[in-house]
């Protein structure tokens, strides 16, 4: 099984009159915005990378990604290891 990592992201979302939430953009490292083209489905799930919450399966730049709402934060699963400041410096 491919190892996945957790990367916390910012999210711009639209909340409609009934309180339904729809994520529109993912903000990577407080910088670049990526448009979410489509939300396939929404359901509670645990992440392989640890933690979990409500999973939004989204289409971003023709790729299927897993966007999780964990308590009050959002993260996505990536195959890219986070940069380890302690061991690489």
């Amino acid at each position: 099984m491919e190892q996945v990592f957790k990367h916390y992201v910012g999210v711009i979302a639209y909340i409609n009159m009934t309180g339904q939430l729809k994520p529109l953009y993912i903000v990577w490292n407080e910088g670049v915005k990526y448009k979410i083209d489509l939300v396939y489905r929404v359901f509670p799930a645990a992440s392989q990378a640890g933690g979990g919450g409500i999973l939004y399966e989204c289409k971003v730049a023709h790729k299927r990604i897993k966007l999780y709402q964990e308590k009050n934060r959002w993260f996505i699963e990536t195959s890219q290891a986070p940069f380890d400041y302690w061991s690489e410096s």
Partner: protein, 413 residues
């Protein structure tokens, strides 16, 4: 009609939640334990790798590190544990309204009424198990039976991720060959007593006559005999029924041993403050004040006193505590942990029998003062106001017993 009761247990709960948050911890021996510096240094939970080093729940962190020097100690985060266990219980509530929690990690579910909606009870148990695995990432063991006791024993049988069905047909084969110590509410003392009369298995206890066991162990013996025979008929409580408060208490292990009366009193005052405030929150007041002390050698004792009038005021509770201290404190002893409890509770309807020898107005003033402190704390935080006496030993009294999270152990009865 036969009941269908599930007992669901989150396997090594705290450790598993930490593993779920950070999967890398699954690869190393890990345990959740308190901070040594605050002297809360005991192991609360451990993972499967740590279990191989024979690390036990409840032993000091220092001893555990001796057994396994590379053991990783994680400090507990109770808000997270409460968050995830509530999520798990939300799933239970989708299947029945009869969910009785037993601590954070265990619960009984009565699904007798839900069978028409959800089908076969064993399927329901499997669904709950897989849903918790997929949605929250935790594994649970389930015991299914016709009473609460056998359900609990079923969930204890295979860990992790077990599912055991104990029915009226097979309980003799499954439960009776088990060691007597595995029966609910049989502790070390009862086990020794039963072993003395050559009862080592649950089946042997069940086949004894009820009167014999009663003569041996008293009232509890009868209860145990009923447990062993599967005659326990207690109902799973409704989720909406709130448990009735029987006593309100707080205790603390101080960061250093308390040797002088001053130190002891200032710590006790903080506890009285919290107990009184919690009583007022519940609109209760109590007659009996109990003081519990534990010294350096871990010998503990409790002393209680009944007051003339019920109270929920810090100063009045403290006065009774002072009384108890004067009578029962050993002046040479160093106390490690202390506790205050108020019981024999009645509803506080703000009316009371006036005493001839007390000034009723002073009591009203005291009540006003203490509720003012409560509202100040609610608005500006706990540390915004404190009693003068506690400032003298501020290193001992810098804790908030009301707000800091504590999980009280719960009894079955």
């Amino acid at each position: 009609m036969e009941k269908w009761i599930l007992h669901i247990d989150i396997n090594h709960c705290y450790a598993q939640i930490e593993e779920m948050k950070n999967p890398a911890l699954k690869e190393i021996p890990m345990a959740v334990g308190g901070r040594e510096s605050n002297r809360h240094g005991i192991i609360l939970a451990k993972n499967l790798l740590a279990k191989k080093y024979r690390i036990k729940t409840g032993e000091p962190v220092r001893d555990a590190l001796k057994k396994c020097p590379k053991l990783r100690i994680i400090h507990p985060d109770f808000t997270d544990y409460q968050y995830y266990t509530t999520k798990v219980k939300d799933i239970y509530h989708e299947y029945t309204d009869q969910v009785e929690s037993y601590g954070l990690d265990e619960a009984w579910l009565d699904i007798t009424g839900s069978l028409k909606l959800f089908g076969d009870p064993i399927d329901i148990a499997r669904t709950i198990q897989t849903r918790i695995k997929n949605e929250i990432g935790l594994t649970v063991s389930v015991g299914i039976s016709f009473n609460k006791i056998f359900a609990k024993m079923g969930s204890d049988m295979f860990k992790p991720y077990g599912l055991v069905h104990i029915s009226k047909e097979n309980y003799r084969e499954i439960v009776w060959p088990l060691d007597i110590g595995d029966l609910f509410y049989v502790g070390q003392a009862t086990k020794t007593k039963l072993n003395q009369v050559y009862i080592t298995k649950i089946g042997q206890l069940a086949r004894c006559s009820k009167d014999y066991i009663k003569s041996l162990l008293g009232k509890m013996g009868e209860v145990l005999w009923l447990f062993a025979n599967g005659f326990d008929m207690s109902a799973v409580m409704l989720a909406t029924s709130k448990s009735v408060v029987k006593s309100v208490g707080n205790g603390v292990t101080a960061i250093k041993d308390l040797t002088t009366l001053d130190e002891l009193r200032s710590v006790l005052l903080v506890l009285c403050d919290s107990v009184a405030s919690r009583l007022r929150d519940h609109q209760l007041k109590g007659f009996v004040v109990t003081l519990s002390l534990r010294d350096k050698q871990l010998h503990s004792f409790t002393r209680q006193k009944k007051r003339e009038q019920a109270t929920n005021l810090c100063q009045e509770i403290m006065a009774t505590i002072d009384d108890l201290l004067a009578r029962h404190r050993d002046e040479n002893a160093a106390y490690r942990s202390v506790g205050v409890r108020v019981s024999d509770l009645i509803f506080d309807n703000r009316q009371c029998q006036l005493s001839l020898f007390e000034d009723p107005n002073a009591k009203v003033d005291m009540y006003k003062l203490e509720t003012a402190i409560d509202s100040l704390r609610a608005r500006y935080g706990y540390y915004s106001i404190s009693r003068g006496l506690t400032r003298a030993n501020s290193h001992l009294t810098d804790f908030n017993p009301k707000g800091d999270h504590t999980i009280a152990p719960k009894g079955y009865f």
